[in-house]
Every structure is written in structure tokens, then in C-alpha cells.
């Protein structure tokens, strides 16, 4: 009896995820001391992850982009699995190379400081600080996983976002660093030239962000001594300025606290459901 391939897609992606995980473990290491730990998230675990990404997205827009990516494939019923690649032991260095890359004179000083960072702040992408050489080895593992997915014709993109969100709600909790490698959907370049972004980022929104961030591109004659920028086609009629303004730090702190609280609640729910 013929089997519709659509029904096999998730299973196939899980098979490729296993091969990617195998590559992580086979990847070369400069230090030879990074211990990997991995998990594969299936489709039914995506809703919790999306919720976590949306909470973290209040602070980091790239988490929102990932949330949009996963939401879109869920809505479209297109399978995606995530290989979570975690590693522990990065926050201490027994290498004793004393290379200084971390900013401390010795590995001992680095280790002593590292012990003082018990929990990462909610805005941090990983639980640092990490030994640079071990981080390079960790990254080598990640990129071998990406290459394996690529060699198997599975679109993919190594992400900090899904890794940090997964760790925040309890996956590979004891790892120092967790990155996510989404595998699928089975189409060309889903994670690049991202069609789903159009759903929430209108052209006008994008243009506003461009003008906010790259005012210099629209700057008028600087000899006038004003930070005037050209926003509209008839810019000489309606003048705009790109004044530097301080961020309200109290609001910023409050937002961070809200993120930490909401993530904690979600984590309890996820753990309860496991």
C-alpha cells in the first residue's frame, strides 16, 4: 500500500535530527573537553516553546521572529522538529592555558568569577561567562549538525532564540548553553528570505525601523547643525528629527521582571505537563 509522504515528514525529520546529533558528537574539538547533551523537540512541544519565545520577544525581537516562524508552520500543518544542542562545563576552565581571551589573567580567576554568576539574568541569551575555547568547540558541534541537515536536504538554521527559550522553560536545564536547530519544514530556505515575517511586519513598520536605526542614510545637510532627516517624499515640507533620547531604565527593569515572572509560570506549567 502506498504511503503518503506527508505522513512521514515528521518521522523523517526526527531521523535527520538523530544524524545531526551524531555529527555534534563527531565534530572536532580543540579542547576535547566539551560534553554535549541533546534533546529532540517534536511538533506537539512547539506551542509551549512559541509561548516562551513570545515572552522573551518582548525584549528581543529575534525571539519574536522565531515565534512567528514556528507559529506559521504549526498553522500550515508542516512538520518541524528542533534538535536542542546543549553543553555543560563551559562555565569553568580546567585547561589552565591562562590565555586571557576571557578577560581574566588566569583560568583560576575566571573560574572564581564564574561561580559568582549563579543564575543568568532574564535578558541574557546564555548562562555565561564561558571559556572562549570551549565555546568554539561547542560551536563546532553546532555547525556540524547544520551541515548534516544541509547534506540531507533539510532546511535549517542554528538559533540562540529557540535554545534559550527551551532552556528557560526547563529543557536541558543543567546545560550552560543551549542552542536550537530547527529542521524543516520541507521547503526551500524557510529560515532565510522569511516569508512569514510579512504577516506582522508591514512595509511601513519596516521603513520606520530603518529610519529610526539608520538615520544617517536620510540625514540632511549637516552644516545646518540639526539632526534633520528626510522621512517623506516631500521632506522639506514636514521636517523630522532623529534626536537621541535616553531609555527609561525603570520601565526597562520592570519589563525584565515581567519576563522573568511569566517565564517562571510557563516553566511550572510545562513541568506539570511533562
Amino acid at each position: 500500500m502506498a504511503i503518503k509522504f506527508e505522513k512521514l515528514q515528521e518521522e523523517t525529520l526526527i531521523d535527520v535530527a538523530k544524524l545531526c546529533a551524531t555529527s555534534v558528537l563527531k565534530a572536532p574539538q580543540i579542547t576535547g573537553r566539551v560534553k554535549f547533551e541533546m534533546e529532540i523537540l517534536k511538533m506537539d512541544e512547539l506551542p509551549n516553546l512559541i509561548e516562551a519565545l513570545m515572552i522573551l520577544g518582548r525584549l528581543h525581537m529575534f525571539c519574536m521572529l522565531s515565534a512567528a516562524a514556528y507559529s506559521t508552520v504549526l498553522q500550515e500543518g508542516k512538520p518541524v522538529v528542533i534538535l536542542l544542542i546543549g553543553a555543560s562545563g563551559l562555565r569553568t576552565s580546567e585547561l589552565n592555558w591562562n590565555c586571557g581571551a576571557c578577560g581574566f589573567k588566569t583560568c583560576g580567576e575566571f573560574n572564581a568569577y564564574s561561580k559568582t554568576i549563579k543564575e543568568p539574568p532574564p535578558g541574557a541569551l546564555i548562562h555565561g561567562p564561558v571559556c572562549n575555547w570551549k565555546m568554539i568547540d561547542y560551536a563546532q558541534g553546532c555547525t556540524w549538525a547544520c551541515a548534516t541537515a544541509w547534506a540531507n536536504n533539510i532546511t535549517n538554521r542554528i538559533e540562540i532564540a529557540s535554545g534559550m527559550a527551551a532552556k528557560a522553560i526547563g529543557y536541558l536545564e543543567n546545560c550552560d548553553v543551549v542552542h536550537g536547530l530547527p529542521l524543516g519544514p520541507m521547503e526551500e530556505l524557510y529560515w532565510y528570505s522569511r516569508r512569514f515575517i510579512n504577516q506582522f511586519m508591514t512595509y511601513d513598520m519596516w521603513k520606520e525601523r530603518l529610519q529610526d536605526m539608520f538615520g544617517v542614510l536620510f540625514q540632511t545637510f549637516v552644516g545646518d547643525g540639526r539632526a534633520d532627516i528626510k522621512i517623506t517624499d516631500d521632506w522639506w515640507m514636514r521636517r523630522h528629527t532623529n534626536k537621541v533620547q535616553p531609555i527609561n531604565m525603570e520601565e526597562f527593569e520592570e519589563m525584565n521582571k515581567g519576563i522573568a515572572r511569566d517565564i517562571e509560570e510557563l516553566k511550572k506549567r510545562v513541568k506539570g505537563g511533562k
Binding site: P28, I30, W97, K105, P121, P122, G123, N132, I136, Q140
Partner: protein
């Protein structure tokens, strides 16, 4: 019809050079893999250099040996000495560096470098003005003038890993080295990068970067071959003149004598 004869012995002979040329071609593809590796935001940050040739490799190996003797810690000193041998045995070296690890960090407050959600560690340890890091003072008491931007270091790892992947798929033996990178950086390779890694490449019957014994700087193929050259030359001089002592010559002479007798 043109022919390319390949044989890995003797080293640097024309047949061996043909083989090495293949590795140099592979090195170019390996660098491509590093340049197209994943990185945060697709921002260019990796520079590369391909180095090969007896003189060039010897210069790097000697620099590593110099560093071994400047190093106070034995275990690191040994790394430099052992891996200097591998530099000599390699066919080609790829240096990769990340030029954004200090001067143009990601500014994402990621927590990689200091475990906090801002970039204060980088910006307080390096001189900066209005958020612009002045990286013109390249003097450092440590091998790497840290701290480095963690996101950039991660991206650098992706580049190295991708290079390694390509080497693996081209059936080229390869390993990335801290020590080779340090020596290369001090010699001016990847001049814009605060951190450099050296990847040694080889296409030999035996991977020269694995199964390495202790005291490798003293006990290795090159030393053993040299030992044979040194001792056999002396041994040769302790024997008789082959024209006289060769037993087959003696047998020949006896046979000739016998033949003459029989003729008579």
C-alpha cells in the same frame, strides 16, 4: 597526454609537490566553507590565510618552539613543541581569525562574556569612547587580549567547524589548533583578528595529527629518519670495501679460478 605522477615520498619532491597542490586546492574550498558558515546576522567577521611551503611552515613551527620556551607552564610548553612537529608534517595551513571580537562586538548583552545582560565587561576592559572601542593598543600581557565578544567567538567557532566539515568531506585530514593560531597571529597572519586558530591539513597515508606519542618533539618520523641517516653513515664506515669483502665477489672469483683449472 599530460601525466601527473603523485607519491608522498620523498617530502617536497616533485611527485609529493603534486600531491600537496591538491591539498592547496582543497584548502581554498575549506576557506570557502568557513566564509559561508552560519553567523549572527550574516555580518562578515572572518578572515583567512592559506600558508604552505617548507620555509613558511618552518617559520611557523620555529615560532611555536620559541613560544614553548617563553611559556612558564610545562603542559602548555609541551603543546607548542609537539604541535610544532605537526606543522612541519602538514601539507598546508589555514589560518582563520575573527576581526570583530573586540573592536566591533555584537552589543547584544548576551551574557556570554561576563554572565550579565549587558556588554560592560568588554567596554570596561577595553578603552572606549561613546560606545566605540579603541582597539589600536594591541599590546597584551596574555596570549589573547580579552575579553572578547562572546557572540563573535561563537560565530568564529561556526567558521572553524564549517572549515573542518569541508576538510572531512574532501577526505583531507585536518585539526584546528590553538598553538598554531597563536604563533601565526604573532607572525602577522590574519592581522586584523584578536583571536586566530590554525587548521593543519594533510593528505598522507597516515593522518599526522592523531596517534601522537609523548615527547613528540623528540620522537617523531623526521627524527627517526634523521637518526637512521646519522647512525647508518657511521655504520657504513665500519665495514670492509665491498670490492673485496662482498661474498658474492669472492664466490665469483672462486668460480673463475675453478673454470680456469678445468680448462687446463
Amino acid at each position: 597526454m599530460p601525466r601527473i605522477y603523485i607519491n608522498d615520498w620523498p617530502p617536497f619532491s616533485p611527485p609529493d609537490q603534486s600531491r600537496r597542490n591538491n591539498v592547496i586546492e582543497a584548502a581554498k574550498l575549506i576557506v570557502n566553507a568557513a566564509m559561508t558558515a552560519p553567523n549572527a546576522g550574516g555580518v562578515s567577521q572572518v578572515e583567512a590565510e592559506i600558508v604552505y611551503g617548507m620555509e613558511e611552515q618552518e617559520q611557523i613551527a620555529r615560532k611555536m618552539e620559541d613560544l614553548a620556551h617563553e611559556e612558564s607552564q610545562e603542559h602548555i610548553s609541551h603543546l607548542y613543541k609537539y604541535e610544532a612537529v605537526m606543522v612541519r608534517e602538514a601539507d598546508c595551513i589555514v589560518f582563520l581569525g575573527d576581526f570583530r571580537t573586540i573592536e566591533t562586538p555584537m552589543d547584544a548583552g548576551c551574557g556570554f562574556c561576563y554572565g550579565v545582560d549587558d556588554c560592560r565587561w568588554l567596554y570596561t576592559k577595553h578603552p572606549s569612547y561613546m560606545g566605540l572601542i579603541d582597539a589600536t593598543d594591541r599590546r597584551s600581557k596574555t596570549v589573547v587580549k580579552g575579553p572578547l565578544c562572546g557572540v563573535r567567538v561563537q560565530d568564529f567557532g561556526y567558521a572553524i567547524g564549517s572549515a573542518m566539515w569541508m576538510a572531512y568531506h574532501l577526505m583531507i585530514d585536518a585539526r584546528p589548533y590553538y598553538t598554531v593560531g597563536v604563533a601565526g597571529q604573532k607572525l602577522g597572519y590574519c592581522p586584523n583578528s584578536p583571536i586566530v586558530v590554525g587548521i593543519l591539513l594533510a593528505a598522507l597515508s597516515k593522518n599526522p595529527f592523531v596517534d601522537v606519542n609523548t615527547a613528540y618533539h623528540l620522537v617523531n618520523m623526521s627524527k627517526l629518519i634523521d637518526a637512521v641517516r646519522k647512525t647508518y653513515i657511521l655504520f657504513r664506515q665500519s665495514g670492509g670495501d665491498y670490492r673485496i669483502s662482498d661474498p658474492w665477489a669472492e664466490i665469483f672469483r672462486e668460480r673463475k679460478k675453478k673454470e680456469k683449472k678445468e680448462e687446463k
